[in-house]
């Protein structure tokens, strides 16, 4: 499986979180919203005009700024 940044995943695709390239504070904040290592998330919106990426984890919808999203490493699931 290829490792991708979350920003590289298109809308309506599922992916699995495999690493965080940020500090522990960022990781805790994401974990609190259900974005944890090995969890599956679905990208709900990743617009070509930029702006935050929205993902669905469980039944929580979360908006993640692009800078932070680029630090979340995932692999795409078929």
């Amino acid at each position: 499986m290829t490792k991708l940044k979350l920003t590289e995943i298109n809308a309506n695709k599922k992916c699995k979180v495999i690493a965080f390239k940020g500090g522990s504070n960022m990781q805790t904040k994401l974990e609190n919203l259900g974005i944890r290592l090995n969890n599956e998330i679905t990208v709900a919106n990743n617009s070509f005009v930029g702006g935050p990426i929205t993902v669905i984890s469980g039944s929580t919808k979360v908006a993640i700024g692009r800078k932070m999203a680029a630090r979340i490493i995932v692999e795409e699931l078929k």
Binding site: K21, G22, G23, S24, N25, M26, T28, K29, L30, E31, N32, L33, G34, R36, A44, N45, S47, V49, G50, G51, P52, T54, S57, G58, S59, T60, K61, V62, A63, I64, G65, R66, K67, M68, R71
Partner: protein, 603 residues
């Protein structure tokens, strides 16, 4: 007195539970030594009075910000914890629940939004969940009042369970096991509400929707505000209040220093609430009859949008733009609040994470966002020249916002954070909660702003008597009048406006200024200084050094913008050729290198 703590993640309907349990005596206050606000209220329970505290929402007891730190500290004060849980997001919520269960404080769990689980295809086995935790678990739908009685009946629950779930990883593992055991999800097809939620988030459809929502809000705010003024505020002042003041004026002899301080000058032999400028006439008429009605209707509409769950979507849509000025989408919320009154907005800026973000947001707000009171002022000044001039004013403010925002983004050191925001589902708002929140915001305005307004009138009357305005006008007038292209008497209005902008309006109208001069003055009055109430609060929040910097930015903007409008505005519109330099300067500003440091730890 028994203390009951309402604890839970943000967006779990905690404040709805709170407002349904408590009476009207709710107060919002700062947690000792911090700027974090929480609300508490009381409830009669048998013969006892129980104190109910709405603890700031938190995802974890390992705090990542100030509000969460406070939540953790408040834990020790409670006799009973009601852990409010969003049952449509059980897995994520249980992390906090498990941490709370380790705390040896009696606890009950309220599975809120219970009515929504069914149509989302979520089945939760409450009995099994009870077995895992060994504490009372009550399904609730607070907006509809379901389950609240059962909660109240458990107020004397005092058993402590002793759980230990180990470190972060093993706790999440336990959450996983519990979820597998008690929850069953049959994903249903996209509902209409899901479809709407997607539309509001995608930029192509979301931005037009946002414009329509804001436009409708504006119409409702105006309609309700005018209704309040026309049918309640003005009749009250004219019919009930006027006779009392006329009596007082007679007792004080109709003239003299004391009379003018309290009642003000008589205009053509009678009291004019708008222009007499006494403490008890204009001093309370403007804030209560002219501004408060709009503030009420503004915060009512805003509270509705908040509780429906629409506001976070605006944060997402504007995130791109806000990054250009060194902020992120979330900081649009205090800036929107500022259109009502800068005071609650300054308080909301506290919730931004870094010092750099707080400084940028405060300065942008104080300089470029007109509050309801300023809005009323510029409409009064420019309205008679036609709506076109109001548009010019807003255009200048938008350009100024972009300019000083970009400049601050380049020059202010420190770091900015990135957007990370839960997007709650759309929900029917609870009218009790909306009204209670409105009530607290109005109280906040009356407590923080009203004394300052009165102080302003008081100081102005003294300065006026001492001739201080005259002296300052003489000193600065000759330079400023040429720079801004207005008569010297208008400069006096600017100087008075430091303390009271509405007073400045009273000075300007009789001067018979041209449309261009009036436009210049209106713009200057909006940008050059916030009201004293805002100033005092910002001083407290930012500290003297940063406030001095912010003030310098405001004054520089005033000189530059005033001179520019005088230069570029000809007869009745902006000269296109003279707009070009602005574009040029902006391109130069973009080239300035950034001083911001990226802090990976805090992104």
């Amino acid at each position: 007195m028994k203390k009951v703590l309402l604890l839970g993640n943000p967006n779990v309907g905690k404040s709805v539970v709170f407002s349904k349990l408590t009476g009207t005596s709710v107060v919002s206050s700062n947690y000792a030594g911090t700027t974090v606000e929480f609300t508490k209220g009381h409830m009669k329970w048998g013969d006892e009075i129980v104190e109910i505290i709405d603890v700031p929402g938190t995802y974890t007891l390992n705090p990542t910000n100030k509000a969460e730190e406070v939540a953790v500290e408040m834990l020790d004060e409670g006799d009973l914890i009601i852990n409010v849980v969003d049952s449509t997001n059980l897995e994520r919520n249980l992390n906090l629940t498990l941490q709370l269960l380790e705390k040896n404080i009696p606890m009950i769990i309220s599975l809120n939004f219970w009515d929504e689980t069914e149509h989302k295809g979520i089945e939760i086995n409450v009995d099994k969940l009870k077995k895992h935790f060994n504490v009372p678990i009550i399904p609730t739908s607070a907006t509809k009042g379901i389950g609240l009685k059962e909660i109240i009946n458990t107020f004397d629950y005092d058993k402590v369970v002793n759980h230990n779930y180990g470190d972060n990883e093993s706790r999440w593992a336990e959450v996983g096991r519990i979820i597998n055991d008690v929850q069953n999800i049959n994903y249903k097809e996209h509902s209409f509400s899901d479809f709407m939620e997607d539309l509001t988030l995608s930029p192509l459809t979301g931005i037009p929707i946002a414009i329509v929502v804001l436009f409708l809000s504006f119409i409702v705010i105006r309609f309700v505000g005018e209704g309040f003024i026309g049918y309640i505020a003005e009749p009250f002042f004219e019919i009930v209040y006027r006779p009392i003041i006329v009596q007082l004026s007679n007792i004080l002899g109709g003239e003299g220093f004391i009379h003018n301080l309290i009642v003000g000058e008589l205009i053509e032999g009678s009291i004019d609430f708008g222009q007499s400028f006494g403490l008890l006439t204009t001093g309370i008429f403007i804030p209560l009859a002219a501004v408060l009605p709009y503030i009420i209707s503004f915060y009512f509409v805003l509270g509705l949008l908040e509780d429906i769950g629409y506001l976070p979507r605006i944060s997402v849509l504007v995130d791109n733009i806000m990054h250009k000025v060194g902020l992120h989408g979330f900081s649009i919320i205090p800036l929107i609040l500022a259109f009502g009154c800068n005071v609650p907005a300054a308080l909301a800026i506290r919730n931004l994470e870094s010092k750099r973000e707080k400084f940028i947001a405060s300065t942008l707000m104080a300089t470029t966002i007109p509050c309801m009171s300023q809005m009323a002022m510029v409409i009064g000044l420019l309205g008679s020249f036609g709506g076109k001039y109001l548009l010019y004013l807003f255009a200048v403010l938008v350009v100024l916002w972009i300019f000083i925002g970009t400049l601050m983004n380049k020059l202010v050191p420190g770091f900015s954070t990135d957007l990370l925001l839960e997007l709650p589902s759309f929900r029917m708002p609870s009218i009790t909660t909306v009204l209670k929140k409105l009530w607290m915001r109005i109280l906040g305005f009356l407590k923080e702003a009203l004394p300052m307004v009165l102080l302003g009138v008081f100081i102005i009357n003294i300065f006026y008597t001492l001739g201080i305005f005259e002296a300052l006008t003489k000193a600065t007038g000759p330079v400023l009048k040429n720079l801004f292209g207005v008569p010297e008497a208008a400069i006096e209005a600017l100087i008075m406006g430091f303390l009271r902008k509405d007073l400045a309006m009273g000075v300007l109208i009789p001067l018979g200024l041209t449309a261009k001069q009036m436009l210049t003055m209106s713009i200057l009055l909006v940008i050059y200084f916030p009201c004293i109430a805002t100033f005092v609060i910002l001083l407290r929040e930012l500290g003297p050094k940063d406030m001095l910097k912010a003030t310098l930015i405001m004054l520089t903007s005033t000189l530059v913008v005033g001179a520019y409008v005088n230069f570029a505005f000809q007869i009745d519109s902006f000269n296109l050729l003279r707009i070009l330099p602005v574009v040029g300067v902006y391109l130069l500003v973009i080239l300035i290198p950034k001083r911001e440091k990226e802090e990976i730890e805090n992104i």
